[in-house]
């Protein structure tokens, strides 16, 4: 039952990916669920891999901040931190 609930939830949070776009599999690691739940509401995840590996920690922090401050992404503080940590660890340079 618990497994089923998780599967349904996963299906819901990945809805923002358009039905006919090529899925992008980012590196599986802590925080990927937050990345998938937030970032792809507005853009495909290829932006992340494309912008790697050259951004340092400050660079990825600036990108997450830009998405929230300049583009109005409704990402709460906890998710923003989890996303930034994921990006620094897995796509930092």
């Amino acid at each position: 039952m618990r497994t089923l609930a998780v599967v349904i939830f996963a299906a819901l949070i990945t809805l923002p990916a358009a039905a006919d776009e090529t899925p992008v599999q980012l590196k599986k690691a802590d925080g990927l669920d937050r990345v998938e739940a937030n970032c792809q509401a507005c853009h495909s995840l290829s932006y992340i891999a494309m912008n790697s590996p050259f951004l340092n920690a400050a660079g990825w922090d600036a990108e997450v901040t830009k998405m929230i401050k300049a583009f109005g992404a409704p990402i709460d503080e906890a998710d923003a931190k989890a996303i930034a940590d994921y990006l620094k660890k897995n796509y930092g340079g």
Binding site: A17, E21, A41, C42, F54, F71, G72
Partner: protein, 406 residues
């Protein structure tokens, strides 16, 4: 709040207004040749992919759609519509019917207001221009250090024969006040999320009323492809693509500078770093200024870096272009820039167009290098070192490729 259109497009799947027309037919990761020097991470996501009505382009992102043309598509001075690059900032891209299309013209810098249909546009005096549409960020992926953004290689550009009405003639329908300083554009495409700034751009009045600035409804003799701005887009020959508003639905004359994210801080160059002739002074706020004209540039299209050739005579060729002053010469060096020889220029189809060139060299056995430098008619030429800027714009570093003869 996610917009209704976006919800329809995602939950409805097939309805897919937000991404309509983006049902893919082919994707081929193996056959892809990225521009040397783009970020390594691009390898894992880029693919050759044919959008509806298009030949395969290099997909950098599919939402919003950002697809560049591979090098081979630049072997002709006119880029066919089905080979022309695609670039969007925002992913809500509605299909617009020609019959219901209207442009609202007005603004506080206009004496009146007007609504212009596609038929109205077509009944106005017709003007045509061959011009390069180049994304401001073309070659961003080659910046050192790398800078964030869409990591374009050589292919975020194309040259087409545009046909439409003069923007000036459309503005004359409402009349410009003498206080008008800018003309702004909005397109029908918008953000997936309503807090994201809509893509609105302006140009100075002096540029808006130039005889070559058009509202184009034809591209290479055909209606514009959906993803290149159907039914009509703004054409600003000589200036980078950011001002060439696709699916234009609003044109406003303004007595005050256009605000918003896409005017500032986006699309800015550090003041004083580039030798720009065309200035957008109402938008100049230190320390930067809007990007304006295309810097003089060239590209080898006959060969890729590292290609194998036979020893002996080899004809190398490509294209050169600039912000509309016209190409005076293309010079080629086979000794790393110590000595230079003139290439033969091909057909001149207009000062805003790609100018073909060719050069015959003698390839010795082993490694040969070919370096190119274009000069325009006001004496500007390409740079040997990158002029670094935070957004990776105006990269016109001379290309230098190797050919292996054996």
């Amino acid at each position: 709040m996610i917009t209704r259109r976006h919800v329809l497009g995602t939950v409805g799947g097939g309805a897919a207004l937000a991404v309509s027309g983006l049902k893919f037919s082919t994707a081929d990761a193996a056959g892809i040749a990225l521009t040397p020097g783009v970020p390594a991470g691009l390898d894992s996501v880029a693919a050759m992919e044919a959008l509806p009505g298009k030949k395969p382009l290099i997909r950098l992102s599919d939402r919003p759609p950002n697809y560049e043309s591979p090098l081979e598509y630049f072997r002709t001075p006119i880029t066919p519509n089905d080979q022309f690059f695609v670039r969007y900032h925002l992913s809500d891209i509605p299909e617009i019917k020609a019959e219901s299309y209207k442009i609202a013209v007005g603004g506080d810098g206009a004496n009146g207001q007007a609504e212009i249909t596609l038929d109205d546009l077509k009944k106005m005096p017709i003007f045509e221009v061959v011009a390069v549409n180049q994304c401001s960020g073309n070659r961003r992926g080659l910046s050192r250090p790398h800078v964030p953004g869409v990591e374009w290689g050589y292919g975020a550009m194309g040259c087409a024969h545009w046909k439409g009405a003069r923007l000036k003639d459309v503005l004359d329908k409402v009349g410009l006040k003498k206080e008008a300083i800018e003309v702004s554009f909005n397109g029908a495409d918008g953000p997936a999320y309503d807090k994201t700034p809509d893509f609105i751009k302006s140009i100075p009045v002096w540029k808006a009323i130039e005889e070559t600035t058009l509202i184009a409804y034809e591209m290479n003799g055909q209606p514009l492809p959906h993803l290149n701005g159907f039914p009509a887009r703004i054409i600003v020959p000589g200036w980078t693509g950011t001002y060439w508003m696709k699916h234009v639905i609003t044109i406003n004359a303004l007595t005050k500078p256009q605000g918003g994210f896409w005017m500032n801080p986006a699309y800015r160059l550090p003041l004083g770093k580039f030798p720009l002739v065309a200035r957008f002074t109402s938008q100049e706020y230190a320390p930067n200024t809007p990007i304006t004209e295309i810097v003089v540039n060239s590209l080898i299209t006959s060969h890729r870096d590292g290609d194998k050739v036979k020893p002996g005579k080899v004809t190398v060729g490509g294209i050169a272009w600039d912000g509309g002053y016209g190409i005076r010469s293309v010079d080629v060096s086979t000794d790393g820039g110590r000595t230079w020889s003139s290439a033969i220029l091909g057909q001149d189809v207009g000062r805003f167009a790609f100018r073909p060139w060719s050069f015959e060299l003698f390839a010795k056995r082993g490694k040969n290098t070919v370096m190119i430098n274009a000069t325009n008619k006001i004496g500007q030429s390409q740079t040997s070192e990158l002029i670094f800027n935070p957004a990776g714009y105006n990269n016109n570093v001379m290309q230098n490729i190797s050919l292996m003869a054996r």
